[in-house]
């Protein structure tokens, strides 16, 4: 798909207000030439999926540092399925213990990026997945 920019939605589901990581990743992706939409705080899974549809994104990046990922990530994946947009690549980041990762993979989260991640790794991952 020559010329078409990858479109990414960076979203903060739940009540967590820590948005440093989400904003840094958003800027890094933008500087890497992607179109980035950032939702702001306190998004419900329904709002995130709706925005993803409206903005016709290729990727959703979810950020949670509160521990609510075990509940909210699967919920969002469910809604994507219901709306037949499972082709969107979903990645997640935040304070996510390793033991939770297999479960998140199982529901379809393509990649989990924990503290200390280099943003270049995220950029590379997205470029490989979105073809």
């Amino acid at each position: 798909m020559e010329g078409k920019k990858i479109r990414v939605l960076i979203a903060k589901p739940g009540l967590d207000g820590h948005d440093r990581g989400a904003k840094v990743v958003a800027r890094a992706l933008r500087d890497a030439g992607m179109e980035v939409i950032y939702t702001g705080l306190r998004q419900t899974p329904e709002q995130i999926v709706e925005t993803a549809i409206q903005e016709d994104v290729d990727v959703i990046g979810l950020s949670i540092l509160s521990g609510a990922h075990t509940h909210l990530f699967p919920k969002i994946m469910e809604l994507l399925k219901e709306n037949n947009i499972e082709d969107i690549v979903v990645i997640g980041g935040g304070v996510i213990p390793e033991e939770d990762i297999p479960e998140l993979r199982k529901v379809g989260i393509a990649g989990i990026f924990t503290p200390g991640t280099d943003t270049h790794d995220i950029i590379k991952f997205i470029r490989e997945k979105v073809k």
């Binding site: 009540l15 904003k23 306190r42 509160s66 304070v95 213990p97 503290p115 280099d118």
Partner: protein, 559 residues
Amino acid sequence: MLDKEEMKKIKQLKKEWENNVVQKTLERFPERKNKLVTGSGKEVERLYTPVNLEGSDYNKELNFPGQYPYTRGVQPTMYRGRFWTMRQYAGFGTAEESNKRYKYLLDQGQTGLSVAFDLPTQIGYDSDHTMSLGEVGKVGVAIDSLKDMEMLFNGIPLDKVSTSMTINAPATVLLAMYIAVAEKQGISPDKLKGTIQNDILKEYIARGTYIFPPAPSMRLITNIFEFCFKEMPLWNTISISGYHIREAGATAVQEVAFTLADGIAYVDAAIKIGLKVDDFAPRLSFFFNAHNDLLEEVAKFRAARRLWAKIMKERFGVKNEKSLMLRFHTQTAGCTLTAQQADNNIARVTIQALAAVLGGTQSLHTNSRDEALALPAEDSVRIALRTQQVLAYESGVTETVDPLAGSYYVETLTNEIEKQALEYIERIDKLGGVTQAIEKGFIQQEIQNSAYQYQKDIEEGKRIVVGVNKFKINEGSPKGLLKVNPEVGRKQIEELKKLKEERDNYKVKENLKLLEKAAKTDANLMPLILDCVKSYATLGEICDVLRSVFGEYKESVKL
């Protein structure tokens, strides 16, 4: 200070040293980098000498501890009299579990409590609200009503401990619950010691747990100032927080500048409703971050103290010397903790805690090694507390007051941070004050730029994070992390249902109606909220009433 002749001589000798000695060394051993910088990215000179402090006036700029401008500390004897309060921020799951953790910490020699609430509580939702799903009990304890609060402090005599509560938008409600619990223990409000964070401006700037728009939020805050002046003389009515601003990516200068600018806004708001500055200012307290750069952080604390004293004196003309003193709590920097080789975090926390102590903190929280991964496990919290105890009892830095004063480097940094923070404050004044600067996104943008730069520096290898971009190893997944009981949410909801069946619902409704009526006037809402909580109205019910009158804040999103 030195006389002119001596200064001239030092300047001349320094030049000779640079030309003859340093130059030769550099030819054989170049320095590690062309430009060496502080943790905040400010260039550091090779050597600091009396020349950097030329023209400075000891009596004016430093003076003695306990004396204006308090650069050297707010108390005359500092830790020779009493150590700082060792106060670990804790709370998770149900009130019952958190109560157990508090008792454990007190048994281990902790000297004050610090309550972490879960996000629904911080945003004024009950555990059964749809937005609360998955969040109940996760980052702190879930409190829905006075009943939970009674359990939280069960068996802890509230006249014997001081309690800090990290609660902002619904601070009035949680303070009311604390007063009600104390009353049941037979303790009157004037005996209670502690702090509520109650700092909404930094929620808009950096932390995100706001509910109402700025104007009604500022009103609730000044309601607390007024109420506490009359009823709770030992209570710190606000903890004006730079901590979260720094965590969001701010530099040391930005942390000082934005925090003190927030402080100015609170003082202005209170004066505007007719409070006398010397009535409430002595109970203002602050909360700062302790980051990695030891000497820059020490200078930051000293600069903040001096700048606040000057602001209170020159801008607000306070008379009471207690109004001039910047008293502060410190927490080590969560954002510096690494998930990789997590035990290395113990070393980071030690350096940061040392900075806080050398900077003259009044109380301290040390982070646990495993907090980049999960809430801290019990043994990790113990090590964190022991780190403070080693500093207090073994390091020796507590035996004299402000031991780094007079260091050419530390004093120069102190001067620079004060100067640059003041410049920021003047810029914010020009924008029309903090609220305007937040609404325009100015402060958020400044912080985001710093955060992005920090990340880029790490990725380009300009900033080394041990174990992350250098000295990496392959390691297994960490063991023994704390897992919050997934049943907490269900349990809270059941309890809530039971409460609503058992309480006097007529009385609850009446009290909520009175609160609604008062919210539409200029009345102080504290007494009405107190009545509500005593009748076991829930936090969510009370906040819903206020939401219906005040509306809700919408953030301005900028990238």
